[in-house]
């Protein structure tokens, strides 16, 4: 598989008072074209920071490198070039479902009328039929996520960064959304980086699962998921799935423990 996006030596620190808080430490990652990579790790390990850097919104410390399609690029090269979906859906309450969905396309210069037509055609696939004229305040959490996803898909870029898109959903809705996302993804096979806290979700969705360490975040573990596509619900009880899950649980528990211990050190507390 050709490499779509490769980062080498990405570090990031923030100055907190006189101390430097290191968020990312020498992160390297290679994602193939059309690959679905899930990223897990304890909270505060810098996953979202990594996304923010990839999206070109945050400048990393000097020294990192970015390659797109094998070519070396400036680190903010992807600003405006990836379909980025942050943790919160960030729908605008004054825009209807349809107009929220076309926001990214509209900013991208697609005429409103054209964008609206395209979004209208996708409403079915995003299970939003009949809700075009509703406002976000009238929707359930799952529907809001689908609107945010439609907005992300409407911004037609071959790389998607999805930051815990299903984090706030209940288990049942989440399972439905996962299967639905895979269906939508199979249709056009864009390159996806997907952050989650949920190990089942990470294995079920991903071609590869990447685990980040406790802060400062490093790539701790990187494994291919030994399951065929298309994925089905029954797979979560297969031995391969369970074995990988056990392995991941072990690694993540170890990292979470470090985070927990760091939080409980009386001198290192942060507000």
């Amino acid at each position: 598989m050709a490499s779509k996006i490769r980062v080498v030596g990405i570090s990031k620190h923030y100055d907190v008072g006189r101390k430097a808080m290191r968020t990312l430490d020498d992160v390297g990652l290679d994602v193939g074209a059309g690959e679905f990579v899930t990223l897990v790790g304890p909270s505060g390990c810098g996953k979202s920071t990594l996304f923010s850097i990839l999206a070109g919104l945050t400048a990393p410390d000097p020294g990192g490198e970015l390659f797109i399609d094998g070519k070396r690029r400036a680190l903010d090269h992807l600003l405006g070039g990836v379909a980025f979906m942050p943790q919160r859906d960030m729908l605008f309450p004054w825009r209807t479902v349809l107009d929220n969905a076309i926001l990214a396309a509209e900013i991208d210069g697609v005429p409103r009328r054209v964008a609206r037509e395209r979004a209208t055609r996708s409403l079915d696939r995003f299970e939003l039929r009949g809700f075009a004229a509703h406002y976000p305040g009238q929707l359930s959490g799952g529907m809001r996520q689908r609107v945010a996803l439609l907005r992300t898909f409407m911004f037609e870029r071959d790389i998607m960064l999805l930051d815990e898109p299903f984090g706030a959903l209940d288990a049942l809705t989440r399972a439905l959304m996962q299967r639905w996302l895979l269906e939508v993804w199979e249709a056009n096979r864009r390159t996806v980086l997907f952050i989650t806290h949920d190990i089942d979700e990470a294995i079920f969705l991903g071609d590869r699962v990447v685990v980040m360490s406790a802060r400062p975040g490093r790539i701790k573990f990187d494994a291919a998921v030994p399951l065929p596509r298309p994925r089905s619900t029954g797979m979560v009880t297969q031995p391969d799935f369970v074995a990988l899950k056990r392995q991941l649980l072990g690694i993540i528990e170890e990292e979470s423990l470090k985070t927990f211990e760091a939080m409980n050190q009386p001198l290192a507390t942060d507000a």
Partner: protein, 251 residues
């Protein structure tokens, strides 16, 4: 339905009871109309002078509306400008605040000298009073927008103008309208105070002449009508707010 009815009926009942008590005590204690006329007498005075009153209201309302519109536009423009250029905020915000510490009364005479005793001088005073809350709320509203929301738009390739028109301004509209509501009352005060410095017509003129001529029922009629005008102006802004910035700010 019952709920809506009660929401209108309950305050209306308060006013009715208040008016009846007023009328009843004036009648019962034989209060001189020179001190406090009965509501019926005030209504009669209003009805009697309805044409003159209507023209006075028209003049003052026009001044206040022009002033409020101008103040809103200037307020939004300066709020946006200060929010976009940090240096401008540092340079001008302190003086903007200080400008409000100077009572408009101090400037009234000068403004009449410069702009004449027509409608424009009053509108200018109304602008001066109403632009400040709008400017401050615009600036505060834009500053309160989450950086992550701006980041989202930037990730879509948005420049400053797109961020301003697709996020910052619409997100700030509810705060702007709150300020316009405040500005509406201030604009009316500005128009009336302006009329006191020099004018030939308007509610302020009616108030002053009634006072100098010691025509108490006339004075009370003007007070009631000024109150009604203020309420109507405020109501108009609320109506616009419900149409334009109807959504609740989200947590």
């Amino acid at each position: 339905m019952m709920d809506r009815l009660a929401r209108v009926a309950a305050p209306a009942a308060t006013v009715l009871v208040f008016l009846l008590l007023w009328q009843g005590s004036v009648d019962a204690f034989h209060v001189s109309p020179d001190k406090l006329p009965a509501p019926a007498a005030i209504l009669a005075t209003i009805w009697h002078g309805r044409i003159a009153f209507a023209s006075a209201i028209g003049t003052t309302l026009a001044e206040a509306l022009i002033g409020l519109a101008g103040g809103t536009l200037i307020g939004i423009a300066s709020g946006v400008l200060l929010s976009q250029v940090r240096l401008l905020e540092r340079m001008f915000l302190p003086y903007l605040v200080a400008s409000q510490a100077v009572p408009i009364i101090a400037f009234g005479a000068i403004i009449i000298m410069w702009f004449g005793n027509g409608i424009s001088s009053k509108a200018i005073i109304a602008v001066y009073l109403s632009f400040f809350p709008v400017a401050v709320n615009t600036l505060a509203g834009i500053s309160a927008i989450e950086p992550s929301e701006i980041g989202l738009l930037r990730s879509f390739g948005a420049g400053r103008l797109a961020i301003l028109f697709k996020l910052q301004l619409p997100a700030t509209l509810p705060a702007i309208f709150t300020a316009i509501r405040l500005g509406a009352s201030l604009a009316l005060v500005g128009a009336i105070v302006g009329e006191w410095f020099g004018a030939t017509q308007g509610l302020g003129v009616v108030l002053l002449t009634a006072m100098f001529d010691y025509r108490v029922p006339q004075l009370w009629a003007a007070i009631v009508l000024t109150g009604a005008t203020g309420t109507a102006l405020y109501g108009l802004v609320v109506l616009l707010q419900r149409r334009i910035a109807w959504w609740q700010a989200e947590a």
